[in-house]
């Protein structure tokens, strides 16, 4: 980039600033202090387009002053987003600028004859959810809905139980260095004949914690006495407008997960929490087909929510690369089929496939781990898509990707 005498000064944006610009709408976000500039001034958008071009190094020479550029310069200086540097101080200068560089990004291996893929993909298994059976005596109203939105028990008309030997052989073929959590679900897990042996075997894996998921209707509190140090119980409670009759136990090893679909249900949960002095609990919104307004009030986000925390580049790049709700999570169903998302086609089966082949399939062709807002409508053209929480199965159930009020705020 050559200096010319006609340049008065350069606008220089600092490399720790995240910039996004679509159709003259722009956002400059300081990842160090969270301050940002959002706008749609055409002239500024042109400057931003120029300075984000390849090899412009986030610098743009300015020949003429005007009000909007002056205002922009003051704004970037005030927020430590960038600077105005007189042309006399710039001598073929360059600087770093944000480029996401994931060395073992699968996209970088295309066409590389030596490396079909990253070698160590087994490290991408972080969490395993194993459905040990499909039987359950309860008749929950939303059984078919809940498990598609969250990690939740689920029963099938056809009774199936997982083959313990096949499962263990599948998991033991290769060491899983990043696996830190295994969830056991059913049906009603307590009715699975091999549960005790399976728990013992799974606990022999290094560094993992074992979470036993049970519906409150199937939960016998006496089980707590048989829980080992690396085991936890997750009690699933669907709460509606009616008061809950079951008993609750405040215990560090028991986590209650309340699935709420109305404001009244939230009130009920608070009452339970207070009555039983619970401290280990989570509340999750459940879509039941007719509670859109509840979601609009309690779940939809706006700009204040987005800017309530400071987003680092790790955060921004993560959201722009993979979906951290899904990434690293595999599901093994009672029939042995393995999924990255139970709402998609299976990736393999425990009796035949290797875990690394399954991971490779997901990395290369899967549609779950890399399902990001940049690739889906209407988020793909939104300035905030990499700052927003990643997509989940709730969006899928609601059949809309933008659980937000941002466009309405305009």
């Amino acid at each position: 980039m050559k200096n010319t005498m006609e340049y008065k000064y350069w606008i220089v944006i600092s490399p720790y600033v995240y910039i996004v610009c679509y159709n003259n709408n722009y956002l400059l976000y300081n990842t160090m202090n969270g301050k940002h500039i959002e706008g749609d001034d055409k002239e500024i958008a042109e400057v931003i387009t120029k300075l984000t071009m390849d090899n412009a190094h986030w610098m743009c020479p300015i020949t003429e002053d005007n009000d909007s550029i002056d205002h922009f310069v003051n704004d970037i200086k005030e927020k430590f987003i960038g600077d105005r540097i007189e042309a006399e101080y710039i001598h073929s200068a360059v600087q770093s600028y944000p480029i996401k560089n994931i060395q073992r990004d699968i996209k970088r291996y295309k066409g590389n004859i030596d490396y079909n893929t990253d070698n160590n993909i087994i490290r991408y298994v972080h969490e395993l959810s194993i459905y040990v059976n499909s039987d359950c005596p309860s008749k929950c109203k939303n059984c078919d809905k809940t498990y598609k939105q969250y990690l939740f028990c689920h029963k099938n008309a056809e009774s199936t139980s997982i083959n313990k030997e096949a499962l263990l052989s599948f998991l033991r073929k290769q060491k899983l260095p990043s696996l830190y959590r295994i969830n056991i679900l059913g049906g009603n897990i307590w009715e699975y004949d091999n549960l005790s042996e399976l728990r013992t075997e799974l606990l022999s894996f290094e560094n993992i914690s074992l979470y036993l998921y049970t519906n409150i209707f199937n939960f016998d509190p006496s089980i707590i006495n048989k829980i080992t140090p690396r085991e936890y119980i997750v009690v699933l409670v669907e709460v509606n407008d009616k008061p809950i009759e079951e008993k609750f136990f405040a215990h560090e090893k028991i986590q209650y997960q309340f699935f709420v679909s109305s404001n009244k249900a939230i009130e009920n949960v608070y009452e339970i929490i207070e009555t039983y002095r619970l401290c280990n609990y989570q509340m999750k919104p459940l879509y039941i087909g007719n509670n859109d307004e509840f979601f609009r009030q309690n779940v939809y986000i706006n700009k204040d929510d987005i800017f309530a925390k400071i987003h680092s580049f790790d955060n921004i790049f993560r959201n722009g690369t993979l979906n951290c709700n899904y990434f690293g999570h595999l599901y093994v169903m009672a029939d042995g089929l393995v999924y990255s998302n139970i709402d998609k086609k299976p990736l393999g089966i425990i009796s035949k496939d290797n875990i690394d082949d399954i991971i490779r399939k997901e990395l290369q062709y899967g549609k779950t781990w890399f399902k990001i807002r940049n690739n889906i409508k209407p988020c793909n053209n939104c300035l905030f898509n990499n700052l927003c929480p990643p997509l989940s199965n709730i969006e899928k159930s609601m059949k809309r990707n933008d659980l937000c009020l941002i466009n309405k705020e305009k």
Partner: protein, 495 residues
């Protein structure tokens, strides 16, 4: 240790560099001068007053606030401790070995003047025209095979390079054929790729076999007849004509194979230049060779003068060449400065991630699991078996530092003992590493330190001032090749 640096490049631009994020920010000169004065111990009032003589007081006030903000944000946990080498790390490396190299023979049909096993050096086993036996190799392969079948092998289909090295490997072709056939009969999931480094004297004789087994071939040739004139037969006759004709023969017989599988390596010395080497290979074979300097370790005391005369510094030659830009572009990865720049960028720039898991690191996480120095975990890059059955982590290491042996009764590799020895060296060296500013990017192999067997110290240690000079060099390099940053971040895969 400081983490925030303000530097002026050779071209007169000012930058802030923070080891926390590894980014160079172009800054206003006032910011640079504030830092200089602050560093000298001046107080705020004096700084504002001094700089207001040259710059507007509003600007100076603004930049002082900016400076304070930058400094408050530049807090990094320095590397003040290093990990120890553990047996599990070594076992993991063996289970996921990338390259197994056989010193097929110590015999050679050439007697190159600068040869690492020749008259200039004394840090290798005596050359006795030995040939590695298939039995010895088989013992090692069987030993490694047991590691490759462990759950710790997570290499998937990653290539495993089986390399043949010498002496001149083509002198022991029966060995090569046997090893190839062993690997072709082995049930391993990984893609096996055979490779060799050869002087090409016998290339015409074996090219059909090498082509049939898809060998990757690296031919040693230093350029034109004059440039190549250190590469001679034992009787002193030059080797150039034979090598050149054999290479042309391979080129004409198997043009596609030549294009994809044959490359060149040139030794840089006082008879050639980087430009002469690059232009020769471009013209003759449409290839860009790798260029290496002479090995500086293990020089005989009475040969030091001769070595000094023959040795040339490649980076110096490139930097002073009239065709510098052309060479930097052509040799991008192999040019020492470019290599140093890429390494620096990949290690310091926090926007570089090795794999997807690193995207989950928590903000501000500066924990680095690193061994002291730049020494590799043994066998994490390769395992080298010498013609005498010694096991080394690399062929560039003096053979007295062998880590194990293949004996009549089998492979002797005491992993606990290896760790003990390495950790002893690391412990002695880590007091330097702790305060070394370049410790994140260190490339210094302990085996290349002449002091390894004595009171070990590092010759590449960088204090604050050295690091500042280094940063200045990096910034200037980026300015002179404005594409370098984008290339390093977008195009280079470091494996």
């Amino acid at each position: 240790m400081e983490h925030s640096f303000y530097i002026e490049s050779n071209n007169g631009n000012f930058y802030h560099f923070d080891t926390k994020d590894g980014l160079f920010s172009l800054i206003h000169p006032v910011l640079f001068y504030i830092h200089k004065l602050y560093y000298k111990g001046e107080n705020k009032q004096n700084i504002l007053q001094t700089l207001s003589n040259e710059f507007s007081s509003v600007d100076v006030g603004y930049y002082f606030n900016y400076y304070e903000w930058l400094e408050n944000n530049s807090k990094e946990i320095p590397i003040d401790h290093f990990i120890e080498l553990t047996p599990n790390m070594v076992k993991y490396a063996l289970s996921n070995l990338n390259q197994l190299t056989f010193e097929v023979t110590d015999a050679c049909n050439l007697k190159c003047k600068y040869c690492g096993y020749g008259e200039l050096y004394d840090n290798y086993d005596k050359r006795t025209n030995n040939y590695l036996s298939v039995d010895t190799a088989k013992k090692l392969i069987d030993y490694l095979y047991s590691y490759w079948n462990k759950p710790e092998n997570i290499s998937g289909e990653e290539p495993l390079f089986i390399s043949f090295y010498g002496g001149e490997p083509l002198l022991n072709m029966p060995f090569i054929k046997s090893v190839v056939s062993i690997f072709e009969g082995l049930n391993i999931k990984r893609t096996v790729i055979f490779s060799m480094t050869t002087n090409a004297i016998l290339l015409n004789k074996y090219i059909d076999y090498l082509k049939e087994h898809h060998f990757r071939i690296l031919i040693s040739l230093d350029g034109t007849q004059y440039h190549n004139s250190y590469r001679v037969f034992p009787d002193g006759k030059e080797s150039f004509d034979i090598v050149y004709n054999n290479v042309k023969y391979a080129y004409q017989k198997y043009p596609d194979f030549f294009k994809t599988n044959i490359n060149f390596n040139s030794v840089f010395h006082n008879k050639n230049t980087a430009y002469s080497i690059v232009s020769f290979f471009k013209k003759e074979f449409n290839k860009t060779p790798t260029i290496g300097e002479l090995n500086t370790n293990g020089i005989k005391d009475n040969k030091k003068e001769e070595f000094k005369h023959t040795f040339q510094n490649l980076q110096y030659d490139i930097e002073n060449s009239k065709r510098r830009n052309y060479l930097e572009k052509k040799l991008f990865l192999t040019s020492p400065m470019a290599h140093s720049f890429i390494l620096f960028t990949h290690h310091y720039n926090k926007m570089t991630y090795d794999n997807y898991n690193e995207l989950f690191r928590s903000d501000g996480d500066a924990t680095i699991n690193k061994l002291p120095s730049g020494t590799c975990i043994p066998f994490s890059r390769k395992l080298f078996l010498t013609v005498n059955g010694k096991i080394l982590p690399c062929e560039r290491i003096g053979q007295k530092h062998c880590l194990g042996e293949v004996k009549e009764e089998g492979v002797h590799l005491d992993i606990d003992d290896i760790c003990r020895q390495y950790n002893q060296w690391f412990k002695a060296l880590s007091r330097h590493c702790k305060t070394c500013y370049i410790n994140k990017v260190c490339m210094q192999c302990i085996f290349n330190l002449d002091t390894i067997d004595e009171k070990i110290y590092c010759t590449n240690y960088m204090d604050r001032q050295d690091f500042e000079t280094y940063l200045k060099k990096i910034a200037t390099y980026m300015e002179e090749d404005p594409n370098s940053y984008r290339k390093a971040m977008k195009e280079i895969l470091m494996r």
